[in-house]
């Protein structure tokens, strides 16, 4: 028996993203720090969230969805940030996760 063809989800794409993606990506462009001495380090960034990639001056952090605004505020206050954006994970990634894990119903 092959089991397939069940409907997993019916609704808006944004709602699916919010349900599947528990995290947001904070993309940073760091500024300041003329000399190597006062450059932001990966360790310093790790205090704010999971460092997905770091090639000075670009860094990508992953944080829990609900923490994204507060963490961004702390980042802006603590580090020399030239640019900051909060993004959902790529939609392909969300869909892949949804197929792999299934979509949990709202309780």
């Amino acid at each position: 028996m092959i089991n397939r063809g069940r409907l997993l989800y019916d609704g808006a794409l944004e709602a699916l993203v919010a349900r599947i993606a528990r995290t947001k990506r904070i993309e940073l462009v760091l500024g300041g720090g003329g000399g190597d001495g006062n450059r932001v380090t990966a360790e310093a960034l790790a205090a704010f969230g999971e460092v997905k990639s770091f090639h000075f001056p670009n860094a990508v952090l992953e944080v829990r969805r609900e923490d994204a605004p507060a963490t961004s505020a702390r980042l802006l206050a603590a580090l020399p940030v030239a640019d900051l954006s909060i993004e959902d994970p790529p939609i392909e990634e969300v869909i892949r996760l949804a197929f792999a894990r299934g979509v949990e119903e709202d309780e």
Partner: protein
Amino acid sequence: MPSIVDAERLSKTFQVKVRDPGLRGALRALLRPRYRDVHAVRDVTFRIDPGEIVAFLGPNGAGKTTTLKMLAGLLYPTSGRVEAAGFVPWTGGPPFKRRIALVLGNRQQLVWDLPPEETFLLNRAIYDIPAGDYRERLAELVTLLELGDVLQKPVRQLSLGERMKCELVASLLHRPPLLFLDEPTLGLDVTAQDAIRRFLIEYRERHGATVLLTSHYMQDVTALASRVLMSSRRGS
């Protein structure tokens, strides 16, 4: 507002012949065939309101095309109920077919050795489109899809993107309010994909058509669909 598509507990089970390899397997399959049930679509329920663009997502083999074929009346469901554009698809006959279009990205209705315009004229006769309407609609579709000089070339000399655009023209000449598009951007380059997307948005705005489409390209989904349906390959 009543739904334009209403599918309730739709299921389709195919009986697939199981055949062991080799001569012995071939003989046994001939004399004492064994079958296996493949549940292509299981218990699928959804509604679509007029004017919506809905994307149907799922891995290969998740039953997307099977569902579209049931909605278009090409397949009978094993169980369940469907109403599309006010008809039960498989008993709706010609009046139903005038209300829908089914475009399959990996099949074509254009005749390979003839210019696309011949297929358009054939469809004009099949759907009994008045000459004035035909000219007007063709001119509009050709402009929107930027087809220009393509119409007089044999189909075999067209690029994949041009062929897909012509498929859309052929399917829309009778101005159906309900479109089923199965991977309309399959295999197209980025520019052609984008042209198809912009066309679908513009076409819907002008004529208020309802669209159910499947695609593996997420740009199609984010650009077009207000809503997604997802189906899985694994059951529970």
